[in-house]
C-alpha cells in the first residue's frame, strides 16, 4: 500500500464531503447530538444517584464506542455504494 494512493482516496472523499451538507451533518451533527443527549441524561442520573458515576461512565463510554463503530461501518457502506452508483469501482480497483 502506497501513501500516495491513501492520500488520493482521502482527497476523493474530502472533495465529496465538502460539497455535501448531508454527509457533514451525518459525520458531526448527529454524533454531537447523541453525546449531548446522553451526556445530559448521564449527568441527571448522576445527580439522582447521589454521585455514583460508575454506571454512567460505562454507558457514555459504550455510546462513544458504539458511535465510532457505527460511523465506521456506515461510512464504508455508503462510500462503497457511492462508488457503485458512480461506476467508479473499476477506476479504483485498477490502482488499489
Amino acid at each position: 500500500m502506497k501513501t500516495s494512493r491513501i492520500y488520493a482516496m482521502v482527497l476523493r472523499y474530502f472533495y465529496y464531503f465538502r460539497q455535501s451538507l448531508d454527509r457533514m451533518s451525518d459525520a458531526f451533527y448527529w454524533p454531537v447530538m447523541d453525546l449531548l443527549l446522553w451526556g445530559l441524561t448521564g449527568s441527571y442520573f448522576k445527580k439522582m444517584s447521589g454521585g455514583n458515576s460508575t454506571i454512567m461512565i460505562m454507558i457514555i463510554s459504550g455510546i462513544l464506542f458504539w458511535i465510532i463503530v457505527w460511523r465506521g461501518q456506515y461510512e464504508i457502506t455508503v462510500n462503497l455504494l457511492e462508488e457503485l452508483w458512480n461506476k467508479n469501482l473499476i477506476n479504483l480497483f485498477v490502482r488499489l
Binding site: 502506497k2 500516495s4 494512493r5 492520500y7 488520493a8 482516496m9 482527497l11 476523493r12 472533495y15 465529496y16 460539497q19 455535501s20 457511492e82 462508488e83 458512480n86 461506476k87 467508479n88 469501482l89 473499476i90 477506476n91 479504483l92 480497483f93 485498477v94 490502482r95 488499489l96
Partner: protein
C-alpha cells in the same frame, strides 16, 4: 518488440465461457483493434488485462513480465478508458483529475493537469461538476484520465462513443500522434468500422469468446468477395431482375434503383451481360466490401 503477450486466456463464469483460450500479442507502438458483436468477450478480456477480473486460466505478460507477479509495477504504465466506467459525477473535472493523478503517483500534478486539459480542450470545463457535462464532454474527461500518467499501454473501450465528428477526428489524430511520438501501444474497441480501418494497424475479431480473425483491416475486408452494385435503371428494369433471378443473385429494389450483390471478379461479366440485354442505366456506383461487411457477415453467422 512485444509489449503485451496473452497466452491461452480463458474466463469462465460457472458454466458460461466468456473468453475461450485466446492468445495474441501487442507490439510496441501498435494500435490493435478489438472487434466483435455485443457479448463477444471484448470487455471481459480488457478487464482481465487490467487485473480487475482474474482469469480462469492463461497468462498475461506486459513488458515481458508476468502480470500477476508484477501487477503494481505494470499498472503504473497502463491506463484505460471505458464506456462502462465513469468518474465520480459530483466532483469537478479538476478534482477528478487531481485525485486520479494522486492514484497514479504523479509528481507535478498541477502542471500535468493543465497539460492534459489543454490536449483534451477541457480548460473551460475544469471547474464544472462531471454531472453537468454532456456525454461527449464526459468522454473527453475519461480520455484525459486515461492519459493522466502518459501510459505505455492504453486500453480504450469505445473511447470515441458520443463524441461529435470533429472531436472524434481530433482524438484519433491525437492517438496517432501519441503512437508516433511516444510509441504508445493501444488496444482499441469500437463499433465504428471506418474509425477502426483508419486507426488500427491490426484487428482481432472476437466472437463467442474466441478469436476468429487476426489480420490487417484491409485484409479482413478483402476476405469478403461480394460487392454491391447500385444502378439507377433508365430502361430494362425487368430484364435486369430476370438476369439477377436467373443467376440467383441477391438484389434489392427501390423504385428504379436496384442494388445487386456480385462477386468482385464477376463484375465485368455481369455488366457486359446487362449491356447485351439492352439494359440502360444512368447512374452506377460500385461499393467494395469493407470492415463493416466483414462484421455483418460474422454477426449473421452468429
Amino acid at each position: 518488440m512485444d509489449i503485451l503477450g496473452v497466452k491461452n486466456l480463458t474466463k469462465k463464469f460457472q458454466q458460461f465461457t466468456a473468453v475461450d483460450n485466446i492468445s495474441f500479442n501487442l507490439r510496441e507502438g501498435e494500435i490493435l483493434g478489438f472487434l466483435g458483436p455485443n457479448g463477444a468477450g471484448k470487455t471481459t478480456t480488457i478487464q482481465m488485462l487490467l487485473g480487475v477480473l482474474i482469469p480462469t486460466s492463461g497468462e498475461v505478460n506486459y513488458f515481458s513480465k508476468n502480470f500477476q507477479n508484477h501487477r503494481e509495477e505494470i499498472l503504473e504504465q497502463v491506463n484505460f478508458s471505458s464506456t462502462y466506467t465513469n468518474l465520480p459525477w459530483n466532483l469537478t473535472v479538476k478534482e477528478n483529475l487531481n485525485f486520479m493523478s494522486c492514484l497514479y503517483n504523479i509528481k507535478n500534478r498541477k502542471e500535468r493537469i493543465n497539460r492534459i486539459a489543454n490536449i483534451f480542450r477541457l480548460n473551460k470545463l475544469l471547474n464544472q461538476q462531471v454531472e453537468q457535462l454532456s456525454s461527449g464532454q464526459v468522454t473527453r474527461v475519461n480520455l484525459a484520465k486515461a492519459f493522466i500518467n502518459f501510459p505505455k499501454v492504453l486500453l480504450l473501450d469505445e473511447p470515441t462513443a458520443s463524441l461529435d465528428p470533429e472531436i472524434a477526428s481530433y482524438i484519433r489524430s491525437f492517438l496517432k500522434e501519441q503512437r508516433e511520438n511516444f510509441q504508445v501501444s493501444i488496444i482499441f474497441t469500437s463499433h465504428n468500422m471506418s474509425e477502426i480501418e483508419e486507426l488500427c494497424d491490426r484487428v482481432i475479431f472476437i466472437n463467442q469468446g474466441k478469436i476468429i480473425a487476426d489480420d490487417r483491416p484491409q485484409n479482413l475486408a478483402k476476405s469478403i468477395e461480394i460487392c454491391h452494385i447500385e444502378l439507377n435503371v433508365a430502361d430494362g428494369l425487368k430484364r435486369t431482375i430476370e438476369i439477377c433471378e436467373n443467376s440467383q443473385t441477391h438484389y434489392e429494389l427501390s423504385g428504379r434503383n436496384i442494388i445487386i450483390d456480385v462477386k468482385e471478379k464477376e463484375i465485368p461479366e455481369f455488366l457486359r451481360n446487362l449491356m447485351s440485354k439492352g439494359v440502360y442505366y444512368d447512374q452506377i456506383s460500385i461499393e467494395k466490401p469493407d470492415l463493416e461487411d466483414y462484421f455483418l457477415q460474422v454477426a449473421k453467422k452468429k
